[in-house]
Each structure stands twice: as structure tokens, then as C-alpha cells.
């Protein structure tokens, strides 16, 4: 690709030394402007979440005040919310996201490993299936999901939600893990096998640790997607105590009034840890997306 863009240019010493004196000064002025723009955009992106926290900390009687920040800060929403059944919903969210992540790992790891290491009949077909299902979203087939799981009649909607979230996030996990496994030289595994470790031993001691960045990325992406999933949870749950947080948050929206304090206290609890979790893998996202799109 690069060949079509520019022919190699002979670099003369003169051009190199000529530009040197003026470059640092100009670059520092440019850096300041870039940084200012960067911080400004960062602030804009955080504003809605700042407003979420501010409203959660606003005393109920200051909710209709027209100030950017409350006159008094009140943490009571964060203590009283546990008396509204919020704990049950938090538990459901943890079960759904944790369960879906576990299922995705158990199912995606062998599939991704095998397709990365072996050429077999149907490999292309399998990867095509993965690619195509990545474009399917639950919202486009909601009625089908609802009627299918109605007929399954599973003992709890949490199980249904674990399955649905695992199914719809599997493709991405297979894709990214496949890319990571492919990038690990087979020779490393073979060397370990020559040293007397079995195939599974080589996998456990060599391949999995090397693929760990990919596994962490897949885990966090799946967890967050399942944690934030809304339309299926809204459709498959009816008991208030069996609803995950994205749906349960609507318990604070009444017919005539909204309990914004509790709603946003709950949102803060549901959102901020996830933003932090995502920030932890920020550095890996670019690599993950590159691997995902190149394959």
C-alpha cells in the first residue's frame, strides 16, 4: 500500500539541520494548543457524568433549584437507596454480566484457539458465521428472542439474560482472541511440548499467558456490554427484584414525578466503576480494534 503513496525521498543533511532551530519553539506552542483542545473535549465528555454525580448529591428540596451545584451536599441518596431493593438489582446485574462473561470465555477460548492453530474444512464457514452474527443485534430480533425464551421457560430470567448476552457478545470475543492466538508463534508451544509438557500444558503455560491482554480485553468488553444491556432485559424480566440495574433504575420514575436523587445515585453506582474498569484497559483498546479489523 505504501508504495502507491510516496516514492522514497533522499533525505539530505541540509534539510535536517535547517529546520532544527525553529522546530522546538513552534512545537511547544502547538503542543499547548493541542493540550488545551484535548482537555476541553475531555471536560465536555465528562460533563453529563458530573451532572449525574451532582444531582445524586443534591438534597431533595434543592432539586428544582437553578444553580449548577447544590448549596449543600447530601450523601443520603447513597445510603437510603439500599432500602429500595437496589441491592437485589445490583446482584442481578453482577450475575448477568459475570455469568455471560464466564460463558463467553468458556465457549470462545477453545473456538478461537482451534481456528487460530488449525486449518480444517468449515473453518472459513465458521469465521463467516462469527463475522455475520457480529452484525446482528438483539433489538432487530427482539420478538423472536422473547417468544423463544418464553417457550424455554427457564427457572429464572437471569439465566435467559446470561445466555442472550453471552450469545450476542461471543462473536467479538472469538474475533479478538483468534487474532491474539494467531499472533503467538506455534514454535513457542512446540518448544514447550518438546520439553515434555503436553499440548494442554503448553497451552496453559505458554499460550494463555501470552494471550492474556486479549483475554482481559474480551472479558471487560463482554462484561460491560452485558452490564449495560437494556432492551432484552426490559423484555424478559417482569419481577422488580429480578431486573438488572438498567431496567430497575426505572423504578424511580413514577407516573407523575421522578425520584431523580435515587435514580442518579443508582446510576452513579452502576456507571462509575464501569468507566474506571474501561479506563484500565484504555491502552489495549487501540491494539484490540486493530487486531479485530485486520483479521
Amino acid at each position: 500500500m505504501s508504495a502507491t503513496v510516496a516514492a522514497p525521498v533522499p533525505r539530505s543533511e541540509a534539510t535536517g539541520t535547517e529546520r532544527r532551530p525553529s522546530a522546538p519553539r513552534r512545537r511547544s506552542g502547538r503542543t499547548v494548543i493541542l493540550a488545551l483542545f484535548g482537555y476541553l473535549i475531555a471536560i465536555v465528555f465528562l460533563l453529563p457524568y458530573a451532572e449525574m454525580v451532582i444531582t445524586a448529591l443534591r438534597p431533595a428540596k434543592e432539586l428544582s433549584d437553578r444553580g449548577y451545584v447544590p448549596k449543600h451536599w447530601d450523601f443520603s441518596n447513597f445510603t437510603s437507596i439500599w432500602k429500595t431493593g437496589f441491592g437485589d438489582n445490583l446482584k442481578v446485574s453482577l450475575q448477568v454480566a459475570g455469568g455471560a462473561t464466564l460463558v463467553v470465555l468458556l465457549v470462545a477460548l477453545p473456538a478461537a484457539y482451534y481456528t487460530a492453530r488449525h486449518r480444517f474444512r468449515g473453518r472459513g464457514l465458521f469465521l463467516l458465521l462469527v463475522l455475520v452474527t457480529q452484525m446482528f443485534q438483539p433489538a432487530a430480533m427482539l420478538v423472536g428472542i422473547q417468544r423463544e425464551f418464553l417457550s424455554f421457560d427457564l427457572p429464572s430470567p437471569t439465566l435467559s439474560l446470561i445466555l442472550v448476552n453471552a450469545g450476542f457478545n461471543l462473536a467479538f470475543a472469538v474475533w479478538i482472541l483468534n487474532a491474539y492466538f494467531s499472533s503467538i508463534p506455534v514454535e513457542l508451544e512446540e518448544a514447550a511440548m518438546v520439553d515434555g509438557t503436553g499440548r494442554l500444558g503448553a497451552m496453559g503455560r505458554i499460550t494463555l499467558p501470552l494471550a492474556l491482554p486479549g483475554i482481559v480485553t474480551a472479558v471487560i468488553f463482554t462484561f460491560i456490554a452485558a452490564w449495560n444491556e437494556f432492551i432484552v432485559a426490559l423484555t424478559l424480566t417482569s419481577e422488580p427484584s429480578q431486573r438488572p440495574l438498567t431496567v430497575a433504575i426505572h423504578n424511580y420514575i413514577g407516573q407523575y414525578s421522578v425520584d431523580w436523587g435515587h435514580l442518579f445515585a443508582g446510576s452513579v453506582i452502576a456507571t462509575i466503576p464501569v468507566i474506571v474498569l474501561f479506563a484500565v484497559i484504555e491502552g489495549k483498546i487501540v491494539g484490540g480494534l486493530t487486531a479485530g479489523s485486520i483479521k
Binding site: V5, A6, V9, L34, A35, G38, Y39, I41, A42, I43, F45, P48, Y49, E51, M52, T55, R66, Y68, L106, V107, P110, A111, F120, F126, L129, V130, M135, F136, Q137, A139, A140, M141, L142, G144, I145, R147, L163, A166, G167, F168, L170, I224, N228, F230, I231, T246, I249, S267, A270, T271, V274, I275, F278, A279, E282, V286, L289, T290, S293, I294
Partner: protein, 301 residues
């Protein structure tokens, strides 16, 4: 004996992929593929409003759907929703990716902030915007009031009460939550461009803008197309933003086809399934047209 051993080995070899891939195929088959079958079947069935199946409906559900007086507006609105949100998102992402690809102190922290709307639940982000647009005390109106632009409690301050302004605000939220992914996809694309190319262009005397247009943009094409395609699918299927901010109302005046499908589902399962079938086919058509229009094959090869 050896022959039998041979066939046994061959059978195991043929079955090995199934052992490793089987669970994945089963999960996707049951959770992702089978609902499509159920969906198509449901669209041809007749249900009572409380969900009892009472027989075949032929094409009645589709007929009822096409007779909906609001359908035309909903379809046009859906096109506007997808085109505007994706176009604005991709344009802004190009600028953001360019900015966050430059080195400056604190870039890492700024990138963490950029990620927030991606990590946060869209439901909760939308609810913050709904609250911030409250006509009496929403922080957006407080800000605009301080600038002297709106009066509290006035018609102008009631952004979500009027279909057009509500739809514009929901588009803004949709762009806001789509930006992080698109920007990161483009950042990933930018990292695949060798810096020597820009170096060479500069030595040749090309202006930064020229270098951006002739080197960065063409080489960014694959990443841009992938990001745009994923955005088209996501934005088309987007439900929480409209559901939380207006519920699709007043009437169906701010509904897209996805929201309309959900509204129908409350009482008309068959008709909702028909809407869903059309949504599903639309996604597939859009994806195919997109792949063709962008000469996807050439890109991959």
C-alpha cells in the same frame, strides 16, 4: 484391524473441530440464529392482544403495518436518524482521532475521559440528558438562561416537548455516545500508517493539509469504513436514547422503526414481528449496499 483403526482416527480427526467449536456454534445457533426463525414465523401468526396464539395470519400483520398512517413518517425519520447521526459522528471522530493521536502532556487522562460515554450505560446517559433538559431547572436551560437565550418554563425551554427539537437533542445524544468507539477505531487506523510517509511528504514540501488529504485519508479508509458500518448498525438499532427521552412521543412523532417495533409489541405481537422482519431485512440490505458501494472486497484483498 489397522484399517478400522484408520477410519476411527479419521472420524476423530473430523470430529475434533466440532469438539472445540461445537459450544460456540450451539450458543450462536440457539441465541442468535434461531430467534430470527422464530421472528419470521411470528410475523405470519395471529395473536390476541395479550399474547395468545390463535392461528395463522398470512400476510395480515404486514398489511396492518403498511396501513399504519404513521409508518411513512417513521421510516423517513429513521433514515434521517441514521444518516445524520452517523455522518456527524464520523466527521467529528476524524477530528478527534487526529487530535488524540498527537502527543501532548496529559493525553492519557484526556483519553480516559473520552471513553466515558462508551463505558457508561446509554440508558443512564440518556436519563441525564432528559434531566438536564428539564424546562424549569435543567442545567442546559440554566446555562442558556444565563446566556439570555431562553426563559424558564417557556415553550423554547421545553426541548423534549416539541418533536423537532426533541429529535435534534436525541441525535446529539446519539452522536455523543457513538463518538468514543468511532474515534478509537480511527485511532487504531491511524497507528497503522507508517510515520515515514508523512515525513517524506513534509520533506517534499507538502502542506500538513495536503499530507492529511493525500496520505492519511486514503490509508484511513478501511478503518473509517468499518467504523461507519458498525455505527450504521448500532444507530439503526438504537433504542434507549429515544425510549428514555421521549418514549417516541408525542404519538409516534419521534419514533424510529426500532422504537415503533417496541411500541407495537405491547399489544400487537404479530404486527411488531412484521416491523421487526422489515428492520432485520433493512439492516441486511444496508450492510450489503454499504459493502458493495465501498467495494469492500477490494479493501479486504
Amino acid at each position: 484391524m489397522p484399517a478400522r483403526k484408520g477410519t476411527a482416527a479419521r472420524v476423530t480427526r473430523a470430529a475434533a473441530p466440532l469438539l472445540w467449536l461445537g459450544p460456540a456454534i450451539a450458543l450462536v445457533g440457539v441465541v442468535v440464529i434461531w430467534p430470527v426463525v422464530v421472528l419470521f414465523r411470528t410475523s405470519l401468526q395471529h395473536f390476541t392482544p395479550n399474547g395468545f396464539l390463535i392461528g395463522s395470519a398470512g400476510m395480515d400483520n404486514f398489511r396492518a403495518l403498511f396501513d399504519e398512517p404513521d409508518l411513512r413518517g417513521i421510516l423517513l425519520r429513521t433514515v434521517a436518524w441514521v444518516v445524520v447521526v452517523v455522518a456527524v459522528t464520523m466527521l467529528l471522530s476524524l477530528a478527534l482521532a487526529q487530535l488524540f493521536n498527537q502527543r501532548f502532556p496529559g493525553r492519557r487522562v484526556a483519553r480516559w475521559a473520552l471513553i466515558a460515554p462508551w463505558a457508561a450505560s446509554v440508558v443512564m446517559t440518556s436519563l441525564v440528558f432528559r434531566w438536564a433538559l428539564d424546562s424549569n431547572s435543567g442545567v442546559v436551560n440554566v446555562f442558556l438562561h444565563d446566556l439570555g437565550l431562553v426563559k424558564f418554563g417557556s415553550n423554547e425551554a421545553d426541548w423534549l416537548g416539541r418533536p423537532f427539537s426533541a429529535f435534534v437533542w436525541m441525535m446529539i445524544v446519539a452522536v455523543f455516545v457513538s463518538l468514543p468507539f468511532s474515534t478509537y477505531a480511527l485511532l487504531a487506523g491511524l497507528q497503522t500508517i507508517p510515520p515515514e510517509l508523512h515525513e517524506a511528504a513534509r520533506v517534499d514540501g507538502a502542506s500538513p493539509w495536503r499530507s492529511y488529504r493525500s496520505i492519511t485519508l486514503p490509508l484511513l479508509r478501511p478503518a473509517f469504513l468499518v467504523a461507519a458500518l458498525i455505527n450504521v448498525i448500532n444507530v439503526f438499532n438504537s433504542f434507549p436514547i429515544i425510549w428514555e427521552m421521549t418514549g417516541g412521543g408525542p404519538g409516534h412523532e419521534t419514533s424510529t422503526t426500532t422504537v415503533f417495533m417496541y411500541q407495537l409489541k405491547q399489544a400487537y405481537i404479530g404486527e411488531s414481528a412484521a416491523m421487526s422482519v422489515i428492520n432485520f431485512l433493512l439492516v441486511i440490505i444496508v450492510v450489503l449496499v454499504f459493502l458493495k458501494a465501498t467495494r469492500w472486497k477490494d479493501q479486504v484483498n
